[in-house]
């Protein structure tokens, strides 16, 4: 590649921040003991202390207390733990009905489907054309058998934010547990459990320039949840397995480094991306125009297909993503774009650009020059749109 890669797929993975690595290093080479060894030798005590400090620091950002945070291997595990843990705890006791939305990410969606196979019934709420779930529809869907509502904080593809404060309040009133997947939102979007009555929150490190393979589940004190990963008595006996201490230290440092000032810059880049790309003829924004993740732009271009766009951009040194069926492992068009009333064509030509810490305003300038050019070239060979 002639030029430096311009990575605009920060919703898929992010580059590790050196300062995160620096924080992790001592726990890989010096204090490499597991926390369980705290009763045997001082190296274990040091590891346990570091783990506690990291836990407290992340919990604080969430307005939670440290004992309410359980570390996991990432957001997939966290969401599995939330849905299946509650189902195990309350399925026989209270009921076997779960409510979620049609546009959730796969860990929630497929955990719900797995529970359906075990005899649970699941209601999948609609999203409107901007990707918003209607709390009134949720209110109507809750029954005396409902044990859990799972609605994401922000959407993975189109970036739409949900009104989780209203949804949480409603769940509280109706005495139903509320889980929210904040994988893409935390800590870029303000989320405080003293204001948002969520009982369970999925978090991850790898989208904020932290390491891969580490995440957490916030579990409000007193939330019934059956242990699902059996092993030792780690994580308040809620999740067996030794803690990934270097990863957790990195997670805490990554949360610390994700400041509101930085988020404001991401949002400025996002707004510039959207405004410039929408100048392309036959383009439209996917997701809500204002209630959206500060780092997410998602635009559909008619008459062209996403994988072709991605490959041409790759040749020019840009990495982005698409909701095209041709790009997915199941050959299915994005369930999110279809879920907000889009057709296959709109999913096919959708391009998601997500900015991160290492992007610059110049990156935005360059991609907003290159992308319309790629679209024009592909439209020139497309059988569609010629008469328009």
């Amino acid at each position: 590649m002639l030029n430096r890669l311009i990575y605009l797929d920060n919703a898929a993975a992010t580059r590790l921040d050196e300062r995160v690595l620096d924080a992790m290093k001592p726990y890989l080479f010096d204090t490499y003991a597991v926390a369980t060894s705290q009763f045997g030798y001082s190296l274990g005590v040091d590891a346990k202390d570091a783990l506690d400090a990291a836990r407290a620091s992340i919990a604080q950002r969430l307005g939670a207390s440290a004992e309410e945070l359980v570390f996991t291997s990432g957001s997939t595990e966290s969401s599995n733990m939330a849905l299946k843990g509650v189902a195990l705890a309350l399925g026989a006791k209270k009921g076997r009905h779960i409510i979620t939305s049609k546009i959730e990410d796969f860990p929630v969606l497929y955990s719900a489907r797995a529970l359906e196979k075990q005899g649970f019934s699941v209601t999948y709420l609609d999203a409107d054309s901007d990707g918003r779930v209607d709390p009134d529809q949720l209110a109507r869907a809750i029954t005396p058998q409902t044990i859990l509502v799972s609605v994401q904080t922000a959407n993975q593809e189109i970036g739409t934010l949900q009104d989780i404060a209203a949804i949480g309040k409603l769940c509280r009133e109706r005495e139903v547990l509320f889980h929210t997947d904040a994988t893409h939102a935390f800590p870029r979007v303000a989320l405080d459990v003293r204001q948002v009555p969520a009982d369970l929150i999925t978090l991850t490190a790898h989208l904020i320039h932290g390491p891969k393979g580490v995440g957490a589940l916030y579990i409000r004190q007193g939330t019934p949840l059956t242990k699902w990963m059996d092993g030792g008595f780690q994580e308040f006996n809620l999740r067996g397995g030794e803690e990934n201490i270097p990863g957790i230290i990195g997670f805490a440092r990554a949360v610390e480094l994700a400041t509101p000032e930085e988020t404001a810059h991401l949002q400025a880049m996002r707004d510039k991306l959207i405004a410039r790309l929408l100048q392309t003829p036959h383009s439209r924004l996917n997701g809500h125009p204002t209630l959206r993740l500060p780092q997410n732009a998602n635009i559909s271009f008619r008459f062209v297909e996403g994988e072709s766009i991605l490959l041409h951009l790759d040749m020019r040194g840009f990495a982005v993503s698409t909701g095209s069926a041709c790009f997915s492992r199941s050959l299915e068009a994005s369930h999110v774009i279809l879920g907000i009333g889009g057709d296959h064509e709109r999913a096919h030509g959708s391009v998601r650009l997500t900015v991160g810490r290492f992007n610059t305003d110049q990156d935005v300038d360059r991609v907003t020059e290159a992308l319309p050019d790629v679209i024009a070239n592909l439209r020139a060979i497309s059988p569609l749109g010629k008469e328009l």
């Binding site: 994988e307 072709s308 069926a325 492992r329 096919h348 060979i381």
Partner: protein, 211 residues
């Protein structure tokens, strides 16, 4: 190139041959639709005496393998007689491209179908076609050979996913040996509808999955 495509595919994708429209085409066809995903248009100029393809162009609304196959298939067909061009298979196209990832073979089938549909369009226009034949189970099975099993990139007949095909009063019933919630169940269902549902005397295609 760190992508799942061969150098030949990438070369044809970057610089596709025979791309565009022939305004005074002797025949043309469009396969696929925006709704189902990829779409290919093929335009032909045919020498009336020799029935030889003198010019051919294509347009693609599709992914890299769709564009690359459109490019290679038009190269393969140029200069051939209609009967010769009809016999070009997607396997030949895929081979000429140095192979395609299994999950992508259905995109190349579409381009080949586009070429065949354009030839059929020429034959229909020039009265080279006999009466419309009633659809048979054999014809349906022949068409199912163009429905890809994306798991391996071979068709669903060859990979024994078609458990049963029956036809009664315009209703086709096809049993596919996959669970309904299989990763590719929907994709295969849509592909079958597209390949069989448009037969002139077929009213409905019922596709059942085994659990």
């Amino acid at each position: 190139m760190p992508l799942p495509y061969s150098d030949v595919v990438m070369e044809h994708f970057k610089h596709p041959h025979n791309v565009g429209r022939i305004e005074d085409a002797d025949a043309k066809a469009i396969e696929g639709s925006p709704a189902c995903g990829d779409m290919v248009a093929v335009y032909l100029k045919v020498d009336e005496g020799s029935k030889r393809i003198t010019d051919i162009k294509f347009e693609s609304y599709g992914c890299a393998s769709n564009i690359a196959t459109g490019s290679i298939i038009t190269e393969l067909a140029k200069g051939k007689t209609l009967d010769e061009a009809k016999d070009i298979t997607w396997q030949q196209a895929a081979d000429a491209l140095g192979g395609l990832p299994p999950i992508k073979t259905h995109c190349s089938v579409l381009a080949v179908d586009g070429l065949r549909a354009a030839i059929l369009n020429y034959e229909e226009k020039h009265g080279l076609i006999q009466e419309r034949m009633p659809t048979t189970v054999e014809e349906i099975r022949r068409r199912l050979k163009h429905v890809m099993n994306p798991i391996v990139g071979l068709d669903i007949v060859r990979t024994k996913l078609v458990r049963d095909v029956s036809l009664a009063e315009g209703v086709v019933r096809i049993v596919i040996d996959l669970p309904l919630d299989h990763q590719f169940a929907n994709n295969i269902r849509e592909d079958i509808q597209e390949k069989v549902g448009n037969l002139w005397d077929v009213q409905e295609v019922v596709i059942e999955f085994t659990e």
